[in-house]
Amino acid sequence: MVKGLEDRLFNAFVYAVLVFCALLAIFPILYVVSVSITPFGEVLRNGGFILIPRDVTLSAYKTLLTQSNLPQAFKVTVLITVVGTAVNLILTGLMAYPLSRKNLPGRRIFLLMIVFTLIFSGGLIPTYLIVKSVGLIDSIWAMILPNAIWSFNVLIMKSFFEGLPEELFESARIDGAKEFRILFQIVTPLSVPVIMTIGLFYLVGHWNEFFQAIFYVTDRTLFPLQVIVREILMQSQQTLENADNITPTQTLQMAAVMIASLPVLVVYPFIQKYFTKGMLLGSIKG
């Protein structure tokens, strides 16, 4: 197949744009990585700006991992993320599956209730009151249960389930399978893409847990990663009061950012193939 000049020009243009976009994305990450492994004096000498580190040190990471609240916060975040995502997926799946069956009585009413919560919410203080009265304040569950189900994800999952061919269910029933067997042995294996995609949404959500932590939790040992990282970053704003605070250097701040974002950064590529598939879910089939 011979390509015309026009085609090649077009391709070149597309590549140029893509490379440019890729650079835009890579550049800040590279900057953060480089500063985090360069001694601060070196950073300052270069005008606070380093892309390719010449003098590498891991002392910032060492300081953070031994002398701050970060390791504890890391544990909390991992726990929230693992338990939280599991809770999310189970509950979302169990809610979406029945709703996807057209013979469910009252299906419209339930769907309406779900859509309603998409548009209206109770607001901060009523939500706080509920969390408080069920006794979740100051517990790790306060960061897991209030957002156990995102209605939007229920809808995505529902439309995926609806796209599964009806014949599958019929044949399963003929073979004698009951609802739970159909759900776990037929629907679940077929739904890996949507589970992965929605799992990733939830996972990132939990990893970035911030607001529920600062509202519902006052016990420092339960603070998740992002709260502590924010604290480290905010410390550079010294006030008159805390003259004895040692402000963290930029190197330390960037290292904290790296520790907080690295795990998600690593997970992404592995889920990406499902992710692209999952993003299209419901767009045509729904």
Partner: protein, 526 residues
Amino acid sequence: MSSNSIKRTSVLLMSVTLLGAVVSGCGNGGGSEASSSPSGSSSASSPAGTDAATPQASADSGKKIKLEVIETGNNLPAPDQDVIKKELDKALNVDFNLTVYASGDDYKNQLNVRMASGNFPDLFALDRQQLIEFSKQGLLLDLTPYMDRLKQATDFIGEENVKKGAVDGKIFAISKSSQIPYNTYFIRKDWLDNLKLEVPKTIEDLKAVAVAFTNDDPDQNGKKDTFGLTGAELNGAFAPVFGAFGVGTPGTVYEKDGKLVNALYDPAMKDALAFIKDMIATGAVDPELLANTALQHQEKAFKGQAGIIWIDWPNMTKENMIEQIKAVNPKAEWIQIEPPAGPAGKFDGSWEIGNTPGRYAIPKALEKDPEKLQRVFDLLNYVSDPKTGSLLVQFGVEGTHFTKDGDKIVMTDKAGEVGYSWLYQFTGRPELSYLQTKFVPQAEFIKFAGDQPRIQTLNGFVDLPEGYVASDADRYIKEELAKFAYGQRDLGEYDKFLKTLETTMKYKLFMDAAEAQLTALGYGSK
């Protein structure tokens, strides 16, 4: 089949309604509990009075009580590594739970939510505006009848600071003791030497030196990569220049020749702005001056870009700062200088005397739990006791973090472990002696900064009138002054600016309130 499904639907609906009823029932229960505390506030004084009259038998009931305190701050270690918490637990027989929030906005949200939902902390920091609001809503405990039980604390902070916690004559908060100013101009001594220049004595000198620092290659690297002056925005970098004209920071109110003056209406303000405009026009001022947030100006100074900076001594002279400065350039030498003189003498910017570094209030609901209330009082008194608790929250544990040499306190090399102790200074600290003990190598800088003359502003005494939105007005002032300073708006239009400020931004309301309230306090009556 269809009748079956209808039945199922109705059963489901019923169960949902039932669930709703249960949930709302719970909600009501919680709600009434929460609302009962403000409603009880109408009879505020009588129970408080009887309470104060009962002897303090409750103080040592032997029960360990959980105390919850929230405030802004950072760097607090986990409770099991927090030696100060442990000492306080032991001394007061409490289980102390301090929570700090790094960002002021987060903290405000948290406090508002908790106040609204009736889940009160036992002691919490708040600003003046919140103090007024919450006290009007009846959420705060009126401390006036308890003053004798807070004697240690009130003695520690002093009469004038006690008054700062008052709303309509009633004390609703304990204020921290006063601080001393930290900021001065710092200048690169080695740059002055390189260019054979003297330390600037007047604002004209300051301008000349800044220009020389910009144009004459003070770092002798053959490149024009430096500028003269930097600081935190206009008000920071030029604070002593405003001072030299006898003008306070824009927006402040102060006494001048026995009369109350607002900086924006001070006749010398225009002269100050004209001088600043000229100085900026020479190109000797940080071109990103207005964008300097947090400590960006300090970074520029460290990097060797700027030669003069108006900043606090901790960020310039603490060991780790020196280390950073020397890492960039071993020859760099920064010295503190006196404010340059101008037509009105010399003032190193403004210093607010009406405000307090912080204040703490106790929720009204706590008066129902006299035992716990007593522990909160115990806490406030304890951290104010110069022989015991105050030492703990200032310097840490005796023998570990500091030792006593007669009356003199010497920090040990473990002192760094309790660098967060300021979070526990609920009633403040004796500022000068505290700093000079903690920062022995910096003692001179501390004293120097504290000794500089400043224009004493009174804004902290003024409660903002209703209908006046301070943040809008402040932003307008900042934007327009920047335009004047950068020559984008002609100074001839200054009066027009004031006119808009008074009408559109309702600054007149603030002016009248300030006048009335400060006159009532006895200011400006000479």
